[in-house]
């Protein structure tokens, strides 16, 4: 892990409000595991703090990040042309650990896919994948994941199942019930909440990738607190003890 300079190779809009960024790093950042992230900034830009981004893909010093334009930082980033210098600190955080004795299942909502794709790729076709988004406009997020045949839900029904991804997952849950299932998930807070409600009675284990506003990304500032169910330690750091947490240890 280190702070490494890079240059933007491409920064494409893949769907309205979503981009795919490819960066060539000046040197290797070492082994990257699914669920890890980088703290990134464009030197000399308007943005004061770095921003955390999930690592979508990393190989041969090429770092790929899928992001949604949500505020000042991502807005600035979305306008950065090819050749722009960036600083990437990473890889950071605790990653997804795949338990070989369980059947993995991936549930991703919207841009939550950005943090799940590395895991999806690692699991190859071993895991059923459930993906949900608002409408067919966002199906482009699946460009690389489509080859693993995800089950797809759109809220407006313009593609695949009409409804949310948790409802879609529920339809398949009975078929999986006999097996020892482990769910891996990332998505909007409401999605994670309803997923939690759905799987609670089945006592299914679940690892969730969370996000929170961060300042340092290194565990220095305690800014990215995640509420836990542990009275002794009610806040953990998304950047250090996370961003991947045991769903049953966090309070939503």
């Amino acid at each position: 892990m280190d702070d490494i300079e890079g240059k933007i190779l491409s920064n494409k809009k893949i769907a309205p409000g979503y981009c795919l960024l490819r960066i060539r790093l000046s040197r290797s950042m070492g082994a990257v595991r699914p669920g890890q992230f980088v703290m990134m900034k464009i030197p000399g830009g308007e943005v004061f703090l770095r921003r955390p981004f999930s690592i979508y893909e990393y190989q041969q010093r090429i770092l790929t990040i899928m992001y949604k334009v949500v505020g000042k930082g991502t807005e600035q980033l979305s306008n950065a042309p090819k050749g722009t210098s960036v600083l990437t600190l990473g890889p950071l955080g605790r990653w997804f650990t795949v338990n070989r004795s369980a059947t993995p299942v991936v549930v991703a909502g919207g841009i939550g896919l950005a943090g799940m794709y590395a895991l999806i790729k690692k699991l190859q076709n071993k895991a059923p994948i459930f993906f949900g988004c608002s409408s067919k406009d966002e199906i482009a997020l699946l460009k690389d994941a489509m080859r693993f045949h995800p089950f797809i839900a759109t809220l407006d029904g313009s593609y695949g199942f009409k409804g949310n991804v948790v409802q879609l997952f529920n339809k398949h849950l009975k078929g999986l019930n006999g097996k020892n299932v482990e769910v891996f998930t990332c998505g909007p807070e409401n999605m994670v909440k309803s997923l939690k409600k759905l799987i609670e009675p089945y006592k299914i284990s679940c690892q969730v990738l969370l996000e929170e506003r961060m300042a340092c990304g290194l565990g220095l500032c305690f800014g990215c607190a995640i509420k836990t169910t542990d009275a002794q330690e009610p806040y953990k750091r998304a950047c250090k003890e996370g961003p991947v947490f045991d769903l049953w240890e966090i309070s939503l």
Partner: protein, 289 residues
């Protein structure tokens, strides 16, 4: 101290977190996260907010408590032979006294830094640092229970910081740390709300800190540690010239995790390039024009 460059309390975790990048032995001394007599859980998220030239935080002094710090983390500094400054706070006067009294003198503890200035807790912190009389009383009481040199960390949000500084010194403070963050509010224009109120830090704070250091260091005879918006070596040099004997780096580390080692090198290069042997040659040389 080996170097006059320190971290600001709460901006370098428990010291161990920076190890993958550089070691705490690089610092003149490691300033601990603010410690309290009992563990404290801190504030609800969101805890950070970005401003154009700074940030607002409302961590709320989350910490493992003074006992656990000495059990779990202090051995790490002993092993690395790195001196520490123990920053501490209380919610009541008794908690300040109990916390300071608990810390046993050690060769590696160069000072206690008493936080009289945190804007993020409802009781304690800043409320003890606003009136000269209150500052005098609490510093005197804490001073009576410890043999370790005592620094008072002050808030700039007072009528006259020189009066506060003078009161702390009259009560026996062995030094001052100037300044803590300024109370501020973030605003989310999209959501039309105030996501958090907390302490403002970063370059936006530097001129305020510099003024406090300049005025207080002229008024008191104890050493002053300057802190507030120091982003690079020239910022550090300007604080030395304004009267600081040491400086602390906080927010800069979040933007560049190597900010501290870079500032240490930059200060040393500046001294060499200008024919100074030590920072003593430049401390307090700046006067009003």
């Amino acid at each position: 101290m080996r170097s006059p460059v320190l971290n600001a309390s709460g901006t370098l975790g428990y010291g161990v977190e920076i190890e993958p990048l550089w070691g705490v032995e690089t610092l003149g001394a490691y300033v601990t996260k603010g410690l309290s007599i009992k563990p404290h859980h801190g504030n609800l998220p969101p805890r950070v907010w970005e401003e154009r030239h700074g940030m607002i935080n409302s961590i709320g002094l989350q910490n493992v408590g003074v006992d656990r710090f000495f059990d779990v983390y202090f051995p790490f500094f002993k092993k690395k032979r790195t001196p520490i400054i123990v920053n501490f706070f209380g919610f009541t006067e008794d908690e300040y006294i109990a916390c300071a009294g608990k810390i046993k003198p050690d060769r590696l503890i160069v000072a206690l830094e008493m936080n009289l200035s945190c804007p993020n807790i409802k009781a304690g912190g800043i409320s003890f640092g606003k009136e000269p009389r209150m500052v005098f009383d609490i510093v005197k009481k804490v001073k009576a229970v410890t043999k370790i040199p005592l620094f008072a960390k002050l808030t700039p949000e007072v009528k006259n910081i020189v009066d506060i500084a003078t009161a702390a010194c009259e009560a026996g403070a062995d030094g001052l740390t100037l300044i803590n963050t300024m109370p501020a509010a973030g605003f989310d224009a999209k959501k039309r709300n105030i996501p958090l109120k907390g302490g403002l830090s970063g370059p936006v704070l530097k001129p305020i800190a510099l003024r406090a250091v300049h005025e207080c260091s002229k008024a008191v005879s104890v050493p002053v540690i300057g802190v507030g918006g120091i982003m690079d070596a020239m910022d550090a040099v300007s604080f030395f010239m304004a009267g600081a004997r040491a400086i602390q780096v906080g927010t800069a580390t979040f933007i560049d995790p190597y900010a501290i080692p870079k500032i240490i090198k930059g200060v040393s290069d500046y001294l060499d390039a200008n024919g100074h042997k030590t920072i003593d040659d430049i401390v307090g040389i700046a006067n009003n024009v």
